[in-house]
């Protein structure tokens, strides 16, 4: 047997046209129908093969999510196959998704028959030969590339080796939604099924009403993972209560926050989990058609989703009469063209309808009047993954994880100035400190932690004073940030907070859809106020310009509050947050820019002044030679001097000085 579709279907009557309600339980709990013991045995054997409990050949799993591919996973994958062919070794090589430890890509796992799965990290193309020679041919672990073992064998020379889960990056994580990412072949529906996939759907469709599903969602306490944190069950209830000939379900996979890649990892690593959650949601609200609105910048996710949908249809899990229940639901992928605002639900709906992606006022909410004027539920990728988890493991179990008001886990994309860049899943209530320092491994190069930006451009930058804030919707709001979709960007002492605010304002004002005045015009003016702050007085030609810097700061709060109060959509309403939160926690840095024209972090180039340390300078004259503006003067063999008015802050002198005599203020 090498596929549920080819072998199992031949022996029983289950097919896409006539699906059997017991198909999923057959696969998972042994045969439920009267196809005979032979089939039962074959099912069991195939499952053990899929789970790599019993297999004849070595299995090599290469982490080929986008992060892996960016680190050369494709070349390594091909090199492994070439090497195996040259040596005439029979083994299966399987591309998998991202296990989350992006900092240490490329990750290659090897599972030898009868041995625990070994995970190697930072594998380079040149390591392929050694891997194959040591592990596959000699059956030994290559310890200098070892990340860890998946389980510890008793009485074996391997017993002293570390486990993957003991690695500090993984130790504090609770992977309930990411359990399959990087572990299974995302393109194999059989592997997903063997690990309990579609049992959630089977349970729901064979025993629960749509209302039961919503009640369970409310019991579990799932809140939307897209940013707002609205209780998912309540949103579904609104849509379920609508009378309509057609209802739609949309999966928002237009992940556009800078530094966020949770949804991409889920779609690339475990797409069936998202699709399964969508089918359950559609069943609950009575939707007959769905869309996955995925940004076109995620080609791998889209390709995998296409296969996922085709496989699910072939197995009778999607389409007409799902699992013989009489429930019909199908979906397609709609590619987004790259507008950030299309992540906003009403703009997203416009985009699917073929119109310009611009938000519209709510109410009416999409649950009442959405896509093509029909009741529509929109949830994001991670929310749907959580739906599957709830019904796979039970609503009470799910509700036991997390805090009083925020249940379950949250996936974060950890990036920036942090040692362990990657994807982490932690229970709600975990503190920022645990994520940044325990899981993230702290700040590299001995630098000081300064802030962590949470919630993308709509969120806020949180300083060390509030780093012990537990992560849940309410606590984050209380400290001036928001959960957002899950981007966590860590910043060290070299990051200037005015510069950071400027970066986010540049992003927001260029991604504003241009519809409402406060967002379109207001964010531009906010950005200009910030730009003036980091401007050198040399670049100001009139006194009015100097006054404008102060005027801008005087009116900043007024502008920010009006943008917040009056913008049309969520993006506009939160557009001022990066400015407000940095102003709240890093006021002295703004003041240094405003009053002293100085950037303490040394990031705003125009405000820097270059000096020569007369003690260190031996007058070699190299700096003066390199200076493109002839701003450095001095006699030979005597300490030189930089003319500030002429200096253009190009940094050439400092970079070229052999005596470290040039310093920056």
């Amino acid at each position: 047997m090498n596929s549920y579709s080819r072998d199992c279907f031949e022996n029983c009557w289950h097919s896409a046209e006539r699906p059997c309600p017991h198909f999923v339980s057959c696969v998972n709990n042994g045969q439920q129908c009267e196809c005979g013991d032979a089939v039962t045995a074959r099912l069991e054997q195939y499952k053990r093969h899929l789970l790599m409990v019993e297999h004849d050949l070595p299995v090599i799993l290469v982490g080929m999510g986008t992060c892996g591919l960016a680190n050369g996973a494709r070349r390594i994958h091909d090199a492994i196959i070439a090497e195996l062919n040259t040596r005439g070794i029979a083994a299966s090589v399987i591309p998998v998704g991202c296990v989350g430890y992006c900092a240490r890509e490329v990750i290659v796992d090897i599972k030898l028959p009868g041995k625990p799965r070994i995970s190697y990290c930072e594998v380079k193309e040149k390591d392929v030969v050694a891997l194959i020679e040591s592990t596959i041919m000699a059956g030994e672990v290559l310890t200098d590339k070892l990340l860890g073992l998946y389980e510890r064998p008793q009485d074996s020379p391997w017993a002293a080796l570390p486990l993957v889960n003991e690695n500090p990056f993984f130790a504090k994580q609770q992977k309930i939604n990411l359990e399959n990412c990087g572990v299974i072949d995302p393109e194999s529906i059989d592997q997903y099924l063997a690990r309990g996939g579609y049992t959630a759907l089977s349970t729901v469709i064979n025993g629960k009403s749509g209302q039961d599903v919503i009640n369970d969602m409310l019991t579990a306490g799932v809140r939307g993972r897209g940013g707002g944190g609205f209780p998912t069950g309540r949103k579904w209830q609104f849509a379920r209560d609508q009378q309509s000939d057609k209802k739609y379900l949309i999966c928002n996979a237009d992940e556009g926050d800078p530094g966020a890649f949770m949804d991409r990892a889920l779609l690339e690593g475990d797409p069936h989990r998202v699709v399964e959650g969508m089918i359950i949601a559609a069943y609950a609200i009575g939707a007959s058609y769905g869309y996955i609105y995925c940004r076109a910048e995620y080609p791998l996710a889209i390709a995998r989703l296409e296969k996922t949908l085709a496989d699910a249809r072939e197995y009778g899990l999607l389409g007409n009469n799902i699992l013989g229940s009489g429930f019909n639901f199908d979906m397609r992928i709609k590619k987004g063209a790259g507008a950030f605002v299309c992540g906003e639900e009403t703009a997203l709906i416009h985009s699917i309808e073929g119109r310009r992606g611009m938000p519209r006022p709510r109410p009416p909410y999409p649950a009442v009047s959405g896509l093509f004027g029909k009741p529509t539920v929109i949830n994001n990728v991670e929310t749907f993954a959580n739906v599957t988890t709830v019904f796979k493991n039970g609503a009470e179990w799910y509700g036991s994880i997390g805090t009083q008001t925020s249940k379950g886990t949250k996936i974060f994309a950890l990036s920036g100035k942090v040692t362990n860049v990657g994807l982490v899943e932690v229970p709600m209530g975990t503190t920022l400190r645990e994520i940044v320092f325990d899981i993230g491994g702290g700040i590299p190069d001995g630098k000081q932690f300064k802030a962590v930006q949470i919630g993308g451009p709509s969120g806020g930058a949180l300083p060390v004073q509030v780093i012990d804030t537990p992560i849940d919707y309410e606590s984050l709001k209380a400290v001036g940030a928001m959960m957002g979709s899950g981007g966590l960007v860590v910043m060290d002492e070299t990051t200037c907070m005015v510069d950071l605010a400027k970066y986010f304002m540049t992003f927001i004002q260029s991604e504003s859809c241009g519809k409402c005045i406060p967002c379109r015009e207001g964010t531009k003016r906010l950005l200009e106020i910030l730009e003036r702050l980091s401007k050198s007085h040399r670049n100001e030609t009139t006194q009015e310009e100097s006054l404008l810097r102060f005027q801008g700061m005087v009116y900043l709060e007024r502008l920010a509050s009006v943008i917040k109060d009056t913008s049309l959509c969520g993006l506009g309403q939160t557009a001022a947050n990066p400015v407000l939160s940095t102003l709240q926690y890093f006021k002295e840095e703004y003041e240094a820019h405003l009053y002293d024209r100085c950037c303490p972090a040394g990031a705003c180039r125009e405000l820097l002044t270059f000096h020569i340390d007369t003690e260190k300078c031996n007058g070699c004259g190299l700096c003066a030679k390199k200076c493109p503006e002839a701003a450095i003067i001095g006699e030979k063999k005597k300490a030189h001097y930089i003319l500030e008015d002429k200096c253009i802050r190009c940094d050439q002198c400092r970079v070229n000085c052999n005596f470290d005599a040039i310093y920056v203020n």
Binding site: C513, G514, K515, P518, E521, Y555, R558, L559, D565, S567
Partner: protein, 570 residues
């Protein structure tokens, strides 16, 4: 249900917006993007009000009332938000009111006054763009545009043309034709509904004032004017009169004082159009079509069908629009009569319309000389009267010049949607039965709906007729015609909703109240006319006897009929 606005309890309809409830109570809430007959877009945020129960600011134009809702429309927070929004608009505006044609009648300018904007609070980059002057009818100045989106919605939803839309994002957003090309290179129909709904000076008509002044002051030129039916019920508004005030006599007097040698009435040629069109209709009915016959008085509509339904051009009446007929006759019949060389005659049409400007330069409308030399909108005429220092209200009422000054009530109602149909039916009835209709009012094709249809018994024939205004409304009917399932015999189409009284050249801004009052006045002119059937116009009878011969005859065809061209949709 009950709601509270600024502390006063009042009654509200479930589901209506805060704006509608407040307006009924006489509370003014400013708006910029709001269009009363369209679904709200909530883009300008100027109508923001405070809902006390949840402490949030919401757009009054889009937010529905709920039971017990307590609203504040002028709290400090609301005023500060509105003022800031206005300041933000001003900061990205050329601020060249001194040179702007809308100065004094600009919604942004009024708001800056109402909210006391006295300083330039926000400074920085300002949007730069070139003025698009290439269209023969409409000029666009994107720098003045405040992106309220009224024009876009009107063009898409009301006119189903979609010649302009939002392009780019964020601060770079602008409203432009496809690929940011000029308006004359895209299938814009020049109806000017965008212009009449623009709150600022971003969209204006292509001005003909200068060429008209030059012609008037030219020694050789014999400059004559003709006035469209819908101008006389709207021009007064530009001088502070109540909407709908009939100012026919003062308009004629003003034109004479501006220096026009003769002032004629386009209602005359409207009557003439009816004779030609009713004859054409009967001939089509007798000779097997093609029917339904579509009227051709509205140049925006003609351009629409040329772009989007060129396969149905055979159904379009070959009659020129009334002012073109008049122009053709002025340069032939009238020129002969007064012994002036036609090359010296300069015909200026005073029209409620921007598309007439485009129509006047169509090569097929005219022979050696164009039928019409210049077209002034109602607004432009008002500007000329202002700049000539004429006190409009103190003018005497003067009559039109002969022989093209006589008209009937049938010609007058051309100005309202359904009027052409009604006038044509009156004459068709006479042609078929030999007697005038007893009741001259067709209730089913009067009124403000965009689609009006009726079965009319004329003698022993029952005609299925329809009067359509607003181009989006004609689309389903044209689709039916393409499919061969249209039941109609005769359809009147006006590009602008409610007809010429709401044309693209009328006083700005358009409003439903003005439309109702202007329409009433048009029908009042008809009611009070001594003659109400086009075929009773004695000057026209004389014209046929002296010059044209018979309706739809050879000479009539040469001067009064035209042909059409297929145009691309893109």
């Amino acid at each position: 249900m009950n709601i509270t606005i600024n502390g006063n309890t009042c009654w509200a309809k479930p589901g209506e917006t805060i704006l509608d409830a407040a307006r009924r109570e006489g509370i003014k809430i400013p708006t910029l993007c709001h269009l009363s007959e369209f679904s709200p877009t909530g883009s300008c945020r100027i109508c923001t009000v405070e809902v006390e129960s949840n402490g949030s600011l919401v757009p009054a134009c889009a937010f529905p009332v709920t039971e017990g809702m307590a609203i504040r429309t002028n709290s400090p927070r609301v005023r500060r938000a509105r003022k800031t929004i206005i300041e933000l608009l001003v900061a990205n505006h050329p601020q060249d009111c001194l040179f702007c044609v809308r100065s004094g009648n600009c919604e942004l300018q009024s708001l800056t006054q109402e909210y006391g904007v006295r300083t330039q609070r926000w400074t920085g980059e300002r949007k730069r763009a070139r003025i698009d002057i290439a269209s023969p009818a409409i000029e666009r100045d994107p720098e003045k545009c405040i992106l309220c989106g009224r024009c876009v919605r009107i063009c898409h939803e009301q006119q189903h043309v979609g010649a302009i839309d939002f392009v780019h994002r964020g601060f770079k957003s602008t409203v432009a034709p496809a690929l940011e090309r000029s308006l004359n290179t895209v299938p814009c129909v020049d109806c000017g509904q965008c212009v009449v709904n623009c709150p600022v000076g971003a969209l204006t008509e292509k001005s003909h004032q200068k060429v008209v002044w030059e012609a008037i002051n030219h020694e050789e030129k014999y400059v004559v004017a003709q006035v469209a039916p819908a101008v006389r019920v709207a021009l007064g508004e530009e001088f502070g009169a109540e909407p709908g005030t009939v100012v026919t006599g003062k308009t004629v007097a003003a034109l004479r004082r501006l220096g026009f040698k003769r002032v004629f009435d386009t209602n005359f040629s409207a009557d003439l159009t009816i004779i030609e069109e009713a004859t054409e209709l009967l001939s089509r009915l007798n000779n097997g079509g093609p029917t339904p016959m579509l009227t051709s008085c509205s140049p925006g509509w003609v351009k629409f069908i040329e772009h989007y339904y060129p396969d149905l051009l055979g159904n379009l009446s070959t009659c020129k629009s009334p002012h073109e007929m008049q122009g053709a006759l002025l340069k032939s019949y009238y020129a002969q009569k007064i012994g002036v060389d036609p090359s010296r005659i300069f015909v200026v049409s005073i029209m409620p319309c921007t598309a007439k400007k485009y129509e006047a330069q169509r090569p097929e409308l005219g022979n050696e000389y164009p039928d019409v030399d210049a077209v002034l909108t109602t607004r432009e005429l008002a500007r000329m009267i202002h700049s000539a220092g004429i006190d409009f209200h103190r003018l005497p009422n003067e009559g039109f010049d002969d022989p093209m000054g006589e008209s009937t009530g049938a010609g007058a109602i051309f100005g309202a949607a359904g009027g052409v149909m009604e006038a044509a039916l009156r004459t068709a009835h006479f042609y078929l039965t030999g007697e005038d209709m007893k009741s001259l009012t067709f209730a089913p094709i009067r009124g403000l709906e965009g689609v009006k249809q009726a079965d009319v018994k004329v003698g022993n024939v029952t005609l299925k007729v329809a009067a359509i205004s607003g181009l989006a409304n004609i689309k389903p009917i044209l689709d039916d015609m393409r499919a061969g399932t249209s039941p109609f015999h005769f359809i009147e189409v006006m590009a602008c909703p409610h007809g010429c009284i709401n044309g693209g050249g009328q006083p700005q801004p358009a409003s439903p109240e003005k439309i109702i009052k202007r329409t009433e006045s048009i029908y009042q002119i008809d009611r009070e006319s001594p003659r109400r059937n086009s075929h009773r116009n004695e000057s026209i009878q004389k014209l046929y006897a002296e010059f044209l011969g018979e309706p739809n005859g050879h000479k009539a065809h040469e001067l009064l009929h035209t042909h059409y061209v297929e145009r691309d949709e893109f």
